[in-house]
């Protein structure tokens, strides 16, 4: 069965929709009920830019079953120019080459397949900036 969660998260995963706190201006991703900075509860919708910088990263050698074909791969925390931090795979490069400070582009990619005949789940990943 397609997971309802994946479908619900389409605006955030497909379009990088985030929320900007009306109180202090902090951009939170994904959107949540209260601002982690000022506890404010009023937000406006905003879009993250499709780029950022690696804050920290690690190489996954032993992957969960669904991602076994992709191992080893890099997972990083990427900060966008809006100040939002996202956890994402960094692909199209040697995973060992992913370092803090590295400039990345965020791209729309296939994240996982729900089994052999199930739905395809898309979202974003990072690649080294060209």
């Amino acid at each position: 069965m397609p997971s309802p969660r994946n479908w619900r998260e389409i605006p955030a995963r497909y379009r990088l929709e985030a929320a900007r706190c009306r109180g202090c201006g902090k951009v939170v991703y994904p959107a949540r009920r209260a601002c982690p900075a000022c506890r404010g509860q009023e937000f406006e919708k905003t879009m993250l830019s499709w780029k950022g910088k690696v804050v920290t990263s690690t190489v996954v050698q032993v992957a969960p079953t669904e991602f076994q074909m992709e191992a080893p791969y890099a997972v990083a925390i990427v900060e966008t120019p809006e100040g939002a931090r996202l956890m994402t795979q960094v692909v199209d490069c040697d995973p060992g080459a992913v370092q803090p400070g590295m400039e990345v582009a965020l791209v729309f990619r296939l994240i996982r397949r729900e089994g052999h005949g199930g739905i395809l789940c898309y979202g974003f990943k990072a690649v080294p900036a060209a």
């Binding site: 074909m69 199209d92 990619r109």
Partner: protein
């Protein structure tokens, strides 16, 4: 007048050299290089498919047009490798690019011609006034059977074209389509790899349709081959388009910019549209451009375009084809390639 208001292309960063494929099957790499004029080809990553390629190309097209995505009233993706047999590729794309939900969406198929087909219909809808903007995309992640000649060419990539009536980057001066029922190449439902009809692939298929469509659009538009600055034909390999150009009276110089097949491979529905994108990346205002696609089955679509004054400043807003062909790349061994293309049978 209607025309192109935005365009974009995408080519995956993974590549395999013709030499590496030749070595795997004990073939002579020089025969491929000289015979088919192929050096290397693009390979999709495990997380790349027709949908992700279309989104990347479409995002660039919107960036160059500088319009609000919600104004796009129609989106058509032409491909012979739609990831789902049932469920459109276009629905994921309209969500990803912020076009949904007020939009007409359909997936097109016509072997390698599906991309220009999507462009043809998009243009018509814009010309009729039915929609303000329409996007036509050609993208593929095509497979050639292992140890088949197609394995040297079948690659991955695509291009997106956004049509409108104002702020054109290129005017569409003329269109023409030529189609017959020809059994040159096919894949039955449920078959993994396509088959080709041997002697049907050259003269009665590619050359007949490309040459007939091109001759007809020249006649219809009143232009001569020498009037064009740039020409692009569908590129199933390096040799066919150059041979068709010679027959039709076009020079190597007119062909050079759009002829990207030697390092990109044949991106099927994305082939001639990506060649056209490479041309728009460098064309000067006033330049005349001719594109003729080809799809097995078989048919060709032709367009005569004229670059506008707006083109040079707008093309800087997204990556060029050349920057993707010559930019960051990762070369694969045949083993990695077989894994990426899921040619290896695994247990569930």
């Amino acid at each position: 007048m209607a025309g192109i208001v935005g365009y974009g292309a995408y080519i995956p960063r993974n590549r395999i050299k013709a030499e590496e494929i030749a070595r795997q099957w004990g073939k002579d790499p020089e025969t491929i290089r000289r015979g088919l004029l192929l050096e290397e080809k693009s390979v999709p990553g495990l997380d790349e498919d027709t949908i992700t390629i279309s989104v990347a190309a479409g995002r660039s097209a919107i960036a160059r047009a500088g319009i609000a995505p919600a104004k796009i009233g129609a989106v058509y993706i032409g491909s012979e490798s739609h990831p789902y047999a049932v469920k459109p590729s276009g629905t994921a794309l309209i969500e990803a690019l912020g076009i949904a939900p007020e939009v007409h969406v359909a997936d097109f198929e016509f072997a390698c011609k599906a991309g220009t087909e999507a462009m043809f219909v998009s243009l018509g809808l814009v010309e009729s006034g039915r929609v303000e903007y329409a996007m036509g995309i050609g993208a593929d992640t095509s497979q050639g059977a292992p140890n088949d000649a197609l394995e040297f060419s079948a690659s991955a990539g695509g291009a997106a074209y956004l049509f409108g009536r104002e702020n054109l980057l290129a005017e569409v001066l003329e269109t023409y389509s030529f189609t017959t029922d020809t059994p040159d190449f096919w894949r039955r439902e449920g078959q993994f790899y396509p088959r080709h009809g041997g002697r049907f692939t050259g003269e009665p298929a590619y050359f007949k349709h490309v040459e007939s469509a091109t001759r007809a659009i020249l006649k219809k538009s009143g232009f001569k081959p020498a009037d064009f600055r740039y020409v692009v034909f569908h590129m199933p390999n390096g040799k066919f388009p150059l041979q068709a150009a010679r027959t039709l009276g076009f020079s190597k110089e007119q062909m050079a910019t759009g002829w990207v097949v030697n390092t990109m491979g044949n991106t099927y529905s994305g082939s001639s549209p990506t060649g056209l994108a490479a041309i728009l990346d460098v064309a000067a205002p006033g330049d005349l451009i001719l594109i003729t696609s080809f799809g097995s089955g078989a048919g060709s679509d032709s367009f005569v375009l004229k670059a506008t004054k707006l083109l040079p400043e707008r093309r800087a807003l997204a990556p060029t084809v050349r920057s993707m062909l010559d930019g960051p790349r990762r070369y694969l061994t045949y083993g990695e390639y077989a894994k990426f293309r899921e040619k290896i049978i695994l247990n569930d």
